[in-house]
Amino acid sequence: MGELRKKAQGLAAKPWFRMPRQPMLRHLSYAAVAVVFLYFLTQKLSAFNDYEVGEIAFYVVALAGLTLLTGVNGQISLGHGGFMAVGGFTLALLVEHTKWNVVPELAIAIVTSALVGALIGIPATRLRGPYLAGMTLMVALGLPYLTNQYDSFFGGDQGLTTPQPIGPASINPEQWLAWIQLACALIVLILLGNLLRSRFGRSFRAVRDDEIAASLAGIHVARTKVIAFMVSAGCAGLAGALLALSAGGVNSAEFPLSISIYLLAGMVIGGTGSLMGVWWGAILIVYLPTSWAPSLANHFHVNSQVSANLAVIIFGLVLVVGMLVAPGGIQGALRWVAVRVGAYFSPDGVPNMKLSLQEAPTDRAVHDSESVTQADKPGV
């Protein structure tokens, strides 16, 4: 072990590769690695598994937006299912009335839901905590219901059709769809990563931590909150549009309140405020209700009422236990372990764990990377 440690320390002292500091270049290089990995993954998997990967991808999009709003900006939302519905219906209406390519359709879905996000976000700037949760809850309940009221426009119970986009004949449709969805997920993560490393990201966090101090620093608090709401709703809208592509259509039953609740739970379990942690949340949202919980229920022969609610129960348990054991979520816990491993091999020996781990009370992931950039410049 000692030998290994020495070797590792030697390597770490002279890093052979360093990520670029410019945020776009940096995030693009991460994405490039992800693209290669995801390409081989989707090639290897069956059509159905590709479909599931696509589902994970659109939940990543929704969770990334939510984590920006709730984790980074401190505004809770129970209404993201509603914004997803806006995106889904926008896409479906465009499919119905135009002959455009899917890319501009997705773009318009983002813009529309961002605008609806602004409508909700403006009054939301005056609310906080349970009041904000209550108001956004109305979005989740009300927006899908609206589509039932104007059924000639929104297609009534049946809703509207959104045919799965078909790629080249050599690529099966599920794989093609998964690529579209994964591409959207990566683009969203890159852009949100950029945003969080800019002055906007700083403003989001400042407003979350202390609004009075933020306004005295020249940050327009209300505007900042509305921007966060719009970005977040835009992401949710994109996710809803991508969900519509997976489902083949949209209707009001497609965006039940449970989606909004799952998103919130997935975000917390993955690691609130962490753009990497959203992958964990998305995997959980996709696999827990359809695959893991039913297998567990089968294995332990629990009764039908319990087994149907098992996914929710597990979400709840993980949430409670997780908050006690690992308040940073899965991503936070991984970092906790990794910092210790990293410190063991670090050339300067073990750093002060207590400080490095307890410094930031919330939202560490992207945030840390800023201080890391700084650490690269000891000469300043």
């Binding site: 959104t162 039908s304 300067d348």
Partner: protein, 459 residues
């Protein structure tokens, strides 16, 4: 320098964390992956020389889990068919997936059925919101979505030709009840109590075609959720009572009909109840057989309530269809063998036997379009336990469009089930049929189909 080492440690930490995410994603996929699905075969998907693969998504668990005995009964009919040479030499394999009555899970499960189980058709899946969710997907791939257990008008649409419903459309339910109310309670004030979704909307559509608008004095709704059930129906019942409605038509699911009756009883409100066929079974409402005085649970209110059903009740043991179903299911469905037959299992039996006849009619050269053509051509001749024929045609994609009216009665022979003894029913008047569109409610004169000898001799 210490602080910088701390940060380089943290940078590594992030790289490790990223790596772990990546590994975990691969691991997750690897665990749940089950190899590439069969490459699209030249022949019909899900059909081989010796087998037909079918799929269904059902609420085996969750809020609608009371329907979880339907699909096993359908599967039992296939087991019977397979034991007797299959259909046109092919064995029927049915995969039943639990969707927990949750649309998003239905979507995933249906993709799994199509992409991984490579099904030929989706048959007998249950639920309006759940099946609406997958309607465009299945139709897009031209996968038949047949015999859906839902009475939504939405299954018969030119937009989605591969879909069809089995249950009597709620609008037909509404028209038949409405014509009864118009005839027998003319001049009385009428109130509606309906579910606040397409079930209620469709039913009201039918009721309004028959009942004069001026006689409807109050329309109350409820949301089908656990929370609404717990909150109770005081305000709705009180509003109906205040409106002076002497007749209340209920388009509601069984638990809410039961709750309505007990709430009305506590408020001293005693209207004539007219109940949609969705809650037509007194055992599902939980109406007790024996009347006690004073009747505290609304049982007095249910005694005499008018309801409707598309077929015989399971306790009508003299009915040949009930007899043959009981015999077959006792052999092939362990649940029936243990606890006796329920109304749902009778539905499942009827469903399974219809699917069997449809596959048979489609012939040896089985294709998806061929199956639809066969049902359109021969559907009217499929023997079944319904009071009216199976009405699917190339233009109308409904299953049944007729109902027998019943009266719940404390003096009728009680329904005895393992779960208890419940109020019995007696038939009222003839069987009626109609379409969901405009057009009169007519009397159906023919008797129920005879049980085919091929079935009764082998069950």
């Amino acid at each position: 320098m210490k602080r910088f080492s701390l940060h380089s440690a943290r940078r590594r930490a992030r790289l490790y964390a990223t790596g772990v995410v990546a590994c975990a994603v691969v691991g997750t996929m690897a665990l749940t992956a089950s190899g590439p699905a069969n490459a699209a075969s030249v022949s019909t998907p899900g059909v081989t020389a010796t087998s037909i693969s079918l799929g269904a998504t059902e609420p085996l668990t969750g809020v609608a889990a009371n329907y979880n005995d339907i699909a096993p009964a359908m599967k039992a009919v296939f087991a019977w068919a397979n034991a007797h040479g299959g259909v046109n030499g092919r064995q029927i394999n049915l995969t039943i997936d639990d969707d927990q009555y949750t649309p998003s899970i239905t979507a995933t499960m249906t993709h799994q059925l199509v992409l991984q189980n490579n099904i030929f058709a989706d048959v007998g899946s249950l639920g309006t919101p759940t099946q609406l969710q997958v309607q465009p997907y299945l139709n897009g791939l031209k996968v038949p979505q047949l015999f859906i257990l839902s009475g939504c008008n939405c299954w018969s649409s030119s937009k989605y030709p591969y879909s069809s419903g089995l249950q009597t459309p709620y609008t037909v339910d509404g028209k038949i009840l409405g014509s009864y109310v118009a005839k027998n309670f003319s001049g009385e004030k009428v109130g509606y109590f309906t579910q606040d979704d397409e079930f209620g909307f469709d039913a009201i559509k039918g009721l309004n075609m028959e009942i004069k608008g001026s006689s409807v004095v109050s329309k109350q709704t409820y949301v089908a959720s656990t929370a609404a059930y717990v909150a109770g129906l005081q305000s709705q019942v009180a509003a109906l009572q205040a409106s002076g409605a002497k007749v209340v038509v209920l388009a509601a699911i069984p638990p809410f009909v039961g709750l309505f009756a007990t709430t009305a009883a506590t408020l001293g409100y005693t209207p004539q109840l007219v109940i949609d066929g969705v809650a037509g079974d007194p055992s599902a409402i939980g109406a007790p057989a024996a009347l006690t005085t004073p009747a505290p649970n609304g049982q007095a209110l249910l005694n005499g309530a008018i309801t409707e059903a598309g077929g015989a009740f399971e306790d009508q043991t003299s009915n040949p269809w009930v007899r043959v179903a009981t015999k077959l299911l006792t052999k092939y469905d362990s649940e029936v063998a243990k606890n006796g037959i329920t109304g749902d299992e009778l539905t499942g039996f009827n469903l399974g036997y219809l699917v069997y006849q449809a596959l048979k009619a489609a012939g040896k050269n089985l294709t998806r379009q061929g199956l639809l053509n066969a049902i359109a051509a021969d559907g009217k001749n499929f023997a079944n336990s319904g009071f009216v024929p199976y009405s699917y045609s190339s233009t109308v994609h409904f299953g049944f469009e007729g109902e027998q009216l019943y009266k719940m009665s404390a003096t009728a022979t009680p329904i005895t089930l393992p779960t208890g003894t419940f109020m019995g029913v007696t038939p009222v008047g003839p069987v009626y049929y109609t379409s969901p569109g405009a057009g009169p409610v007519k009397v159906w004169h023919s008797a129920q189909d005879k049980v085919p000898a091929s079935l009764s001799s082998t069950a």
